[in-house]
Amino acid sequence: MSVLVLAEHGNAQLDEATARAVSAALCLDNDVHVLVAGKGCHDVALAAAHLDGVSKVLLAEGESLANQLAEPLADLIVARSGNYDAIVAASTSTGKNVMPRVAALLDVMQISDVIAIDSPDLFRRPIYAGNIVQTVRSKDPKRVLTIRASAFRPVGKGEAKPIETVDIVPGSCLSTFVANAVAVSERPDLTSARIVVSGGRGMGSADNFETVLAPLADTLGAALGASRAAVDAGYVSNDLQVGQTGKIVAPDLYIACGISGAIQHLAGMKDSKVIVAINRDAEAPIFQVADYGLVADLFEAVPELKGTLASAT
């Protein structure tokens, strides 16, 4: 029973989520292959070939795969699927986009956002914004899984394994790529950062995110995050959203500023190792999950915290 893992990458670099998906795949079987699909992504394939536990890398390159569009990527995975009993991807925006298409083409019910694999047949996954965890057994002959990256420890580096070039699937040009607008940030990636500083509606404006919260994040070398309320209010872009329908993070330290703590937000950060909440409302639900709560006006406390940390280093 071999497992195929879809590599997460932007053609230049292999994303850490792949090492975590491989870790999940190894819970299913020892024979794990990684599919690198893209264009000009040979370096990505090399990096994948060095992931510990991977036995082979499949490299598919072509113009139609350059931007990870769902239709050609799903067709490619389905064309390779005959050799595998399970297909795994991380719950990234690419994984969430393409894997259900693969599952439906194979007439398989996908198991989304798996947080634990109890046996090759039993999977745990959160429902209702993580308020309930269900354990499911699949009746399908094949498994199609997306895994929550933060729930699996990434595999390390190992000896280089072979890279096999595979053909792309012709046809399927139902959608065309127009443009990417990549948020340029010097800060670490939200989903893999060791420290995350997040702001909520209490930040009051987009300006305050930049002038009050960002300096604290930069002092700590932290990623910047936000609650849905802050995204709704237009303070920050959606790619910073932490929560049930945004990104799921589990950093060593999560600092929530002006975030009330709606269940949808808690769903995205409650597995953080240490949670700090700064909020002037002592009754805010965020304090029920915070290891350290500071009831204070964030516009005083956050600059003070930044100052204290900056002077200490």
Binding site: R101, Y128, S175, A179, T191, D239, Y292, L305
Partner: protein, 250 residues
């Protein structure tokens, strides 16, 4: 151009769903139900396309229990023209729903199908993508902006690093993300009007389909709750504790 919008009846997102005391299942008996918030955004977008003269008809469809007629009425009150309930009391997994919706699309022949990106009960995030696969149509998930021009729809998608713009040839599937629009509240007169709008009920068997479950739920549990920690009195105390007690700051 006809638009089909799929909607799901779910527990109110503001309610913290729990297990029954005997652990035999979810305690939803007293929970307020509502339209899945992302589906509301999808309905709103369809209604706006109609108001802009781009869509000629908006049909809303739900696969679910009797009570899902309430959800469909809400969509009709928002401005959809016609409703269709494919009635089932079974658990509706995305794959089964996608098959029913695919059959409905075969009859209705819409140029565009809109869905919410994810239902906030099972948190699957699958139905739109699966429907696209079943129909062999292109898909644009997690849409934050949508523009129809002739036989093409251009969609800006929310992706991990920022956004991606893609163009699809119609017919196509688009799933709605948070920033696509802000759904309207239905006015009282529109709620009254919605009661007179056509709402048809069908069974999956009318389409030659059986709603089957592929996943067996063997256990439901509430995750360990995180204990509240302590309140610190000052920033200085916070920094001190983070360094010494928590060990997360150098």
């Amino acid at each position: 151009m006809k638009i089909l919008v799929a909607v799901k009846r779910v527990a109110d997102p503001n309610v913290k769903v729990r297990l029954r005391a005997d652990g035999s299942g979810l305690d939803l008996a007293a929970v307020k139900m509502t339209m899945n918030p992302f589906d509301e955004i999808a309905v709103e977008e369809a209604v706006r396309l109609k108001e802009a003269g781009i869509a000629s008809e908006v049909v809303v469809v739900s696969v679910g229990p009797d009570k899902a007629t309430e959800t469909l009425r809400t969509a009709l009150a928002m401005g959809a023209d016609r409703g269709l309930l494919v009635r089932t009391e079974a658990t509706t997994e995305p794959l089964a729903v996608a098959k029913v919706l695919s059959a409905v699309a075969g009859e209705e022949q819409p140029a565009l199908i809109l869905l919410g990106k994810q239902a906030i009960d099972d948190d699957c995030n699958q139905t739109g993508q699966m429907l696209a696969a079943k129909l062999g149509w292109p898909q644009a998930t997690f849409a934050s902006q949508l523009a129809v021009d002739g036989d093409r729809v251009t969609v800006i998608r929310e992706v991990d690093g920022g956004s991606q713009t893609i163009a699809l040839t119609l017919p196509a599937i688009v799933t709605a993300d948070l920033r696509l629009n802000e759904p309207r509240y239905a006015s009282l007169p529109n709620i009254m009007k919605a009661k007179k709008k056509p709402l048809e009920e069908r069974q999956a068997s009318d389409y030659g389909l059986v709603i089957e479950e592929r996943l067996e739920v063997v256990r439901l549990e509430e995750p360990p709750t995180r204990a509240a920690g302590i309140k610190v009195k000052s920033v200085a105390e916070l920094v001190e504790r983070l360094k010494t007690e928590a060990g997360v700051l150098a």
